[in-house]
Symmetry: D2
């Protein structure tokens, strides 16, 4: 089986593997207080051009989302999200388990707009019966989205502006941030730090064994964050494992360059699908490609390839997702492309 | 600085490092559904002699405790624990954040007794005003305890009996289980599976980079456990990393043999302390050794060694903890022992 | 100002006032363990024809909903509800504050169908990735709905059937149950007890000063319910106040007869609106009447009457709600009807 | 049975009964936005000499405590309380259900000291591992305590000072506040408003049918409090019922004068017990009296009187509580006193 169903089928980049082996028997303090974590934090502050940013490392994305949201909100506040957002649909109620409602807005290709958000915030804060409803306290975006699309710099700045007008946090889930950066050069760490109150740089799907780097920019979010990190089970005993990985990913151009590999392979699959006459389910410039494919053709492909079934559609068709990653071998894509063409 | 402050200062055993490198570019399904996890589960079921056990892997101990407890209890139920128990004092309120009170019992050297537990359960379930108080729903033990002591097989069986009489779960936190097994041969996986409704086999402190294997024995705890694992942020995307590590630790005598190394070194430190005239703060047969040491001597030791300050005591003395681990070099212990003797 | 904005503008029926005064200095045990509560429970069991029903009293509707749901669900489970359901929109996140997601289905005039519910349950329980999403654990209906509509006996039986097929609880919020019973004779206490696992008989909006009677039918919901009642702040110290009120409401035909008064007045308002040419926003047989009214006419009415603004509509129109209740004076309705006709 | 087991066996004072009857058919807005609530708020602000105080009404004490604490704390914070405090022992885990740990301090006769609190706060905030433990965020006192004792003005000022030094809220549960004021003239509404960040004036146990008036003094506690009131089920639809009751209790000296009645009767019981040679379990100047009584004498008393069993003691003795209230008839106390003397 050649696996295209997700971007976490393999381990990590060679450089991380080597660093972990090299440091394996070093003795360091625990809980992210070691020099590797400190160095990774310094690198991230530099990339974000924000000396005041606080950086904490977590193991996974759901953990990152629920910890940040628990730290940010008072009990009566909720999370504005695209209805397709990961926190709304694929975290088994992790946000609600911290006591907070997700307030979904209808998304188009995974994205919501500044106008929609502004309307939702206005509607709540101008309602004389507001206290009978959930107060929006944070806007959650994914960059890139779960559908592979990317918010432009202009869109992000507009959303940031409306959030600040209403005193609502903007938090960005960057599980696949590298792939957005590889696809759209205007998406940079600096831009993320400019628009967001907090965001995380995804490692799990972009070259690390595991790990996400949470960048906290708003002072109120920094305060006592590590208590909540510990409380939600996110404080890794051997915290250096996270520091070492982010040093490797970020100390030179590694993060971006491995992401470019994935994006470039994904574009080859995209072309093959288009040539085959498949409809794009969403139009994604990143490492995830979504097509509407006749079931008869899928029956052939599924003998050799794994992919993600996104939605069963009428007319004997299915929306599917192919993912590439930093690890996807060129030959594997060649094979897939060839097989698509000869369907 | 030679580090004796905890048992998670280093990475992992060589065998795990090799296995992670060897499998690094393999493609596997995510979320613990891969063949490594399946094999590790089968090994654990065999060691526990329980074909019906369900095994799920988590990254760390606080995460394991809060997930199991959230899965086990209804909202009005609480956790009976030694007042020194990890869930009561060192998890930043993780259990309360799932909605449940910890009901502490006064511990002696980290342990509570079947009689104490029986008294607490009787007291609640015979109280006509019980519904105004928290109902005990689960008894939490640590094996070995946070103070390095070990529950004997007889003690565990007595506690298990009283729990079953009252229909209350018994859950055992085995963060350092290997060190209890190395110190006391009657402590086996089979015994744990016999007495507990759930327990976890600690990897983080016993040879793994990270990871804990939760063994679920009571049918009601197995049901839908993976939903709650996901909800609490504990479902690792690259779940195979946990499966591979537990295969390595458990497929032959590795887990026990690396734990024996730590325990044997700890006993040498213990002897050095006793010879020096230090009072044992608790009498521990495992890898953690607790002494009452004059502050003047600590001032000397602390130039070269890190240890954990446990409690400041009157009379210019401090209770401290030295930890060894699977990774502690013999030479480092020789050096410490020599320096203790020459204080 | 003549108030038609809600059905809780006044105090209570005379009979309750008298009973409260008469018993005021009696001494009784607290917390709902008195003889008035016991007698009210017996009456309710009789009306429901269910000797096995457990009845507990609460002060208000949000409290009733959050307590029942907290008692019913495991952490990973959620509540299927109409998107217009009270638990989804007007409880300030009370359900999420107990840790559970509300899973909204698009409603038509406040109602959802057995087919919709069946589809949602099938979709979850047949999904191989289900554990990444919230598991439906309870279906919430309002009878009558927030839009004044009523589920027929056939609809309720069909919904009940699909819930039982999937092992999901059916819970019915009867805040205004009397008004549904007054409007549709097939809606009886017996029917509610037949189809639901739990439901509550609303007192606050139907003749009582305050109070709701929760009827628990499923054995698992009865177990330890009073602990959770206490935990969520719903156990009234002077519990007899609730018992006395439900004795008065239910010991003879009082509940139904006062509800009929409200429904009959509401139908007169309905006719006046229709005669005026107002569009029905929803077609309600109960005590709430929803119209689409030109803003110019509202400007006139609002000088003398209060009503609830439901939705601002295009074309200088507004959807509004008029409520009657057990307490609405006939003369007040005459006046409103006259003023509508002469607009 | 003559009831001395608690102070909520009866209904309400005549004045409240009359006011409720008189206003019964008035139409008012809901949710505490009516003129009775506004007037009661103004009276309370006057009594507290704090024009900036926000006042919100709740139905009961557990509801008041859990709502205030949920509004006050971030997720990693806990409540410092006497181990005998109501929030620690008699609310079925209501505080933990909002996610927060109660951090108990050993109490003497129900009270904790500024020194104890200062030590606990210092210990946490000076701990380098603090983030692994629960951060104290609020100190909870009961005035009078559950054991009938009263904090002096000096004690309250000292506790308030230490709380402010550490930036920790001071919240005072005044379920029986009137009885403390009746017993100790230095305890005034003004003093409470001076020392506390929030406190509540208990109605349920001091003359009302039900109801507690929460006085919010710290600006951060006022913000959005009504959202959380609604979310926790504490916003009464017919909110005026609470406003009317607090108008009646507080508009003249009523609250204090009815409390004096209870205290004076309690002191007669106290003298009878002392004369009989019973040991005082705690030395209470308020309406609750605690004695250690031989079981043989209790067997006689219990035929005619109800009392609360506080603790079974060795030597065939039991600690019991007698309560008086605003409603206790003089003749009933005469009878009890006579029967004690003739035991």
């Amino acid at each position: 089986m050649l696996r295209f169903e997700c971007d976490y089928s393999e381990g990590c980049i060679k450089k991380i593997q080597d660093a972990l082996c090299r440091t394996n028997l070093d003795q360091t303090p625990g809980y992210g207080m070691d020099e590797h974590c400190e160095r990774a934090r310094a690198i991230i502050r530099g990339l974000c051009k924000r000396d005041d940013a606080e950086v904490q490392f977590l193991v996974g994305g759901t953990q990152a989302n629920m910890t940040l949201i628990a730290a940010a909100l008072r009990p009566h506040q909720g999370v504005v999200s695209a209805d397709t957002g990961h926190v709304n649909v694929h975290e088994s109620g992790a946000i609600e388990a911290t006591g907070h409602k997700v307030l979904p807005l209808p998304a188009k290709d995974g994205k919501i707009t500044a106008a929609q958000i502004g309307q939702a915030l206005h509607s709540h804060f101008s309602d004389t019966h507001a206290e009978h409803t959930v107060q929006p306290g944070l806007v959650y975006l994914s960059q890139p989205t779960e559908n592979g699309t990317v918010y432009s710099a202009e869109e992000l700045r507009a959303i940031s502006k409306v959030c600040r007008e209403y005193g609502v946090y903007l938090y960005i889930d960057g599980a696949r941030l590298g792939y957005a950066m590889a696809a759209c050069p205007e998406i940079t760490f600096g831009l993320m730090a400019e628009v967001a109150d907090a965001f995380y740089i995804g490692g799990t799907k972009v070259g690390a064994l595991f790990g996400e780097a949470m960048v906290l920019l708003h002072p109120a979010l920094k305060k006592d964050f590590r208590y909540i990190l510990k409380q939600r089970g996110g404080m890794l005993a051997k915290g250096r494992l996270l520091g070492i990985q982010f040093e490797c990913l970020l100390e030179d151009d590694t993060y971006l360059s491995i992401a470019r590999h994935a994006v470039s392979l994904a574009q080859r699959i995209r072309q093959a699908g288009l040539d085959k006459g498949w409809r794009l389910y969403t139009d994604s410039p990143t490492n995830q490609q979504f097509f509407v494919v006749p079931n008869a053709q899928l029956a052939v492909l599924s003998r050799k390839y794994s992919y993600d079934v996104w939605e069963k559609l009428p007319g004997e068709q299915t929306a599917i997702r192919f993912c590439t990653s930093w690890a996807t071998p060129l030959g594997q894509v060649d094979e897939l492309v060839g097989d698509i063409r000869s369907l």
